[in-house]
């Protein structure tokens, strides 16, 4: 597990909030869309917060999943141009996918949450399965 010091998770994924809040600082935005999270993090990165995870984790496309979790720093260290570019490109990529118009069911949401959660755990070296069993999922 990566150290929780000086990092926070920006997310709209309730599963991440539920499980990882015990270990990490979780900034949870319930009503934010996938894109909203990208924009929030982009603005943080513009403002000099360090970016720790790639904004486009996973291959579930931005027009499918609604969940996004990104790890950023807690201190303003100065703007990193490469991270700015990453965030800009992530938004460009996000915008090129057309809405699918699919009405998702509860279990879809749950599974999209799960995938986003395991991608984040992969990044944080956090034992995803242990986290799930602890949360009795």
């Amino acid at each position: 597990m990566k150290s929780p010091n000086r990092i926070r998770i920006v997310t709209n994924n309730p599963l991440v909030k539920q499980i990882l809040s015990d270990w990490y600082t979780v900034e949870y935005y319930e009503d934010a869309t996938y894109r909203d999270i990208l924009v929030k993090v982009r603005d943080m990165v513009y403002n000099g917060y360090e970016l720790f995870t790639h904004p486009m984790a996973g291959s579930v496309k931005p027009n499918e999943t609604m969940y996004k979790s990104i790890v950023v720093g807690t201190d303003q260290k100065g703007t990193d141009i490469d991270h700015c570019k990453l965030m800009m490109n992530a938004l460009i990529t996000c915008d090129k996918f057309k809405p699918t118009g699919v009405q998702y069911s509860d279990y879809h949401y749950k599974d999209f949450q799960l995938i986003d959660y395991t991608l984040l755990c992969g990044a944080l070296d956090f034992d995803a399965i242990a986290g799930l069993s602890k949360a009795n999922m």
């Binding site: 909203d36 924009v39 460009i92």
Partner: protein, 347 residues
């Protein structure tokens, strides 16, 4: 019935003469002239050239507006299935004329168009807007260009979907089209690598985006006569945000009149931006859009005049493609209004 084509060529290919005849105004002839023959041969009766328009290259360059109007009038009257210009090979002014007249016909009349020229011909700058077949750099390339162009033209006339640029013979136009190569990707990769190792020519299948840069605008030695435009991505809008510009992911931009405003007052203006703390901008909107000091500079003749309208967008989360489109639109407005320089502020 055969498809009907109008063909545009210059004085040289019409056998009127060389540079000394480049001044001739457009003339309309019946049937095919010169290189049109090669197209008709390839079409085997499926399409015919009903008219040929001959225009001097100098005439087009010097009287572009008149030349376009005349050609459009004729083509509109004839109402063909297809408009072909050239090919122009490496002739710069001819290439420019072919590309621009083809684009005009396409946009004004909605008729399919095609031209051909050497890749380094300045006319090829329009390859993203009209289809251009790459040709050799001299007229000797006609033998090879004619069948490619004829086949492509026939496809366009029949309304068939186009394959990839390398299959159909048009310059890559920014639209990626799938197709099947003869060899699998890994083999192509190894071949490309061998060429790269051995210093031989190779062509990437995916050109990296050209890091689209615009040449810096020319310096303006004397700003005291200049009409200065003002734009911002900081979301400054009239109080109450009458056009409802969204705090993020804006779907439109604002154009606001500052005539008579000596400074932007907090009573009259505010920010619609949702990406930063709006308190400071709302307290004093000049912190984002410096109308107050620019008015003083007007009075001091440090600038000529501040343009009556400013343009505003919200940088926060607006799709890149939209913000580009917004800027393209208001850049045209500024240009029409005679704006000579522009300050853009961002938060």
């Amino acid at each position: 019935m055969a498809y009907r084509v109008v063909h545009y060529i210059n004085q040289f290919f019409a056998n009127v003469g060389g540079e000394e005849m480049a001044h001739i105004a457009p003339e309309l002839r019946e049937g095919k002239v010169g290189p049109g023959m090669a197209f008709e041969t390839a079409w085997k009766g499926e399409a015919v050239i009903v008219n040929t328009i001959v225009c001097g290259d100098s005439y087009f360059a010097e009287h572009e507006k008149e030349a376009k109007e005349q050609v459009i009038a004729w083509v509109k009257e004839i109402n063909p299935d297809m408009f072909i210009a050239g090919p122009a090979f490496n002739a710069g002014r001819y290439g420019y004329a072919c590309a621009n007249i083809a684009l005009e016909v396409k946009t004004q009349l909605g008729i399919p168009v095609l031209t051909g020229m050497y890749e380094e011909n300045p006319g090829a700058d329009l390859k993203d807007k009209i289809l251009i077949t790459p040709t050799a750099n001299s007229a000797a390339g006609m033998r090879k260009a004619a069948p490619t162009m004829a086949k492509l033209a026939l496809k366009l006339m029949k309304g068939e979907a186009l394959g990839a640029s390398c299959e159909e013979g048009y310059m890559p136009n920014g639209i990626r089209v799938n197709f099947f190569e003869k060899e699998r990707g890994a083999k192509r990769a190894v071949k490309m690598l061998l060429n790269k190792i051995n210093g031989k020519a190779f062509t990437t299948e995916f050109p990296m985006p050209n890091f689209d840069r615009v040449e810096p605008g020319k310096a303006i030695p004397d700003m005291s006569k200049v009409l200065l435009g003002l734009a911002t991505s900081g979301g400054i809008v009239p109080k109450g945000n009458p056009d409802h510009i969204e705090a993020s992911s804006a779907s439109h931009y604002g154009e606001y009149d500052i005539e008579g405003w000596d400074r932007l007052t907090p009573e009259g203006w505010e920010t619609a931006h949702g990406g930063y703390d709006p308190v400071y901008a709302n307290e004093d909107p000049n912190r984002v859009l410096p109308v107050d000091v620019l008015r003083q500079m007007e009075r001091e003749h440090k600038i000529g005049k501040l343009h009556r309208y400013f343009y505003t967008t919200v940088g926060n989360g607006t799709a890149v493609a939209s913000s580009r489109k917004f800027a393209e639109e208001y850049a045209q407005k500024m240009l029409k209004a005679g704006v000579q320089a522009c300050i853009m502020t961002s938060t």
